[in-house]
Symmetry: C2
Subunit: 335 residues, 2 copies
């Protein structure tokens, strides 16, 4: 019993055919006669043969993998998109290589590296802060954006972020709020911009006041939500409701407000964004804008595979809808 794994040569010898026939049998079984197919398959079983992916890839001038570039794997938000990506890529026999842009120093350089390296048949970008020039690379593989990106014309799977902001404000206004504030994500992030836009334009449409003091800066984390709560507590002229650009921030916000002895929604109404798992387990439940993250991953992967297989660098972008989820954290304003 040999320690080394069997090669296609071994199978060919055992089956009494050429290596080409073995290869054919495995990749397009219809093209060989049943007799040879049976012989080959039993030789495969006997030898325990598995194709050597590396050799196959080299010969076929492909890599069999897709690189996913994201800011932070540990963020549950991305983790769920990854799950969606994986559910499509794995069955299609593509490996998913994950590159964390936060772990290294220069994210742009990393991207440039991956573009040039030829280490992947395609790229999925989940980081909206990368610089666009990098993509000028001449022989780059197909790329799909799974987030918004200012001024990019790349094929993308995007969520109706502006509409999410609009839904949030609309809901709060309908509950009777007129003094509505916002906690943003990190300023450089496009999601931040778009949700803020939806927020502001809806205030305008509804004729509600726009007070710059009521727009607080966050960075999507729970910590920054808690900080926003402290800032809100310190305002002399507090808004009665807040739309926060992520559920994580909303969670941190609510916790801090409650620890200060105030009540949600009694003293302040809160609407988040994402509908992460915890939203329904908080007390009160978190009213939020649902964005289907697994689906974003699934569609992005499908788009990318289409591009890879048709050897195209372009594909129709896709918009994924958001939805308001009503729970207990938003109610009528205090009299």
């Amino acid at each position: 019993m040999d320690r080394r794994t069997a090669t296609i040569q071994d199978v060919a010898r055992v089956a009494g055919v050429s290596t080409a026939t073995v290869s054919r049998t495995l990749s397009k079984p219809a093209v060989v006669t049943k007799a040879t197919r049976d012989a080959v398959l039993s030789a495969v079983a006997e030898t325990g043969y598995r194709v050597n992916t590396t050799a196959s890839n080299l010969r076929r001038q492909r890599t069999g993998s897709v690189i996913v570039l994201l800011p932070n794997i540990a963020n549950p938000f991305f983790a769920q998109i990854l799950a969606g990506l994986s559910s499509v890529l794995t069955p299609a026999e593509y490996g998913m290589l994950i590159a964390d842009t936060q772990s290294g120093p220069d994210a742009d350089a990393r991207l440039a590296h991956y573009l040039a390296s030829g280490q992947a048949d395609g790229l999925v970008l989940l980081d909206g802060t990368l610089s666009a020039e990098v993509l000028a690379s001449p022989a780059r593989p197909p790329i799909v954006m799974a987030c918004e990106w200012m001024g990019s014309t790349l094929p993308s799977v995007r969520v109706e972020n502006a509409r999410g902001g609009a839904l949030a404000v609309g809901h709060l206004a309908q509950l009777g709020h007129r003094r509505i504030g916002h906690v943003t994500g990190p300023p450089a992030n496009v999601l931040t911009q778009t949700r803020l836009e939806g927020f502001l334009s809806t205030l305008r449409e509804l004729g509600l006041p726009q007070n710059p003091d009521w727009v607080l800066e966050g960075d999507f984390t729970m910590d920054s939500g808690a900080a926003a709560a402290r800032a809100w507590l310190g305002l002399t002229d507090r808004p009665t409701a807040l739309f926060l650009s992520s559920d994580e921030m909303a969670t941190g916000f609510i916790g801090e407000v409650q620890r200060a002895g105030l009540s949600v929604p009694g003293d302040v109404s809160v609407v988040g964004f994402d509908n992460i798992e915890i939203a329904q387990h908080l007390a009160p439940g978190l009213t939020t804008i649902r964005q289907p993250r697994t689906q974003i991953g699934v569609r992005a992967a499908e788009l990318l595979l289409t591009m890879i297989e048709s050897n195209s660098r372009d594909a129709p972008s896709e918009i994924i809808e958001v939805e308001l989820i009503r729970r207990g954290s938003a109610g009528p304003p205090p009299d």
Copy 2:
């Protein structure tokens, strides 16, 4: 300007040397003269050459990637271990391939497949429910377990799970509780077993009552924590404190208890396990057992790389310490 990327041949031609010299210059620069090294490096710059990893791997009989087998990428718990793994594997030029055992039907078969496929230089297992026999595979690559696994003798990075259970019970007992319950993870899971053991043995040591009605079954999710809360509410003879085998469950539990109009820790004290991010943002903050997940990933990756590079199938296992984090969710029992 050619569309195709430059090969080692192109570099050799431009530099006026052989391909062997180019290869040497790039892998062990010390072995060539400064003159040739300079010529080669400038030719590399000029042509924009990058080594073709696939070809290199084929020639060197390696794959350059590590497979990580886990139950569910979307789980933030695993996501953080992945971050740790990635922070070691990426700089070492290993790709990290992620295989989700939940997405396919037969996890054991998947594992067997990966073991035999030769698609990776090493494996990291994060799934404690896989069957041990599968590992009998003859020519398998190095494997590291980053979780406990009944009866396995594989090199592993483990956490002091039993001690965690003991710390939780000890803390609650010290606060004055004598009626202490437990919410477990899924029964098949080894973590479940070990934490339960720590829980039970400490009750015994401290002479506290062991009531089977006070041990509720969960599955680590927030939903199951909420369900446990409903079960607890339905008990005629309620424990005054609970140790839950995950922070997610504790979060779901607290939310549901609060929605029922009761208070934590006023009516019931809660201790979780993990110290996930939200623990400090709940109101009250969640008292819990900290396990350093990123570090688990880091150590597992380091262990695996050592094994790969020394071509060994064995390595000393490692235990990572846990720690009690005191916050507000555990207090004295109600009189």
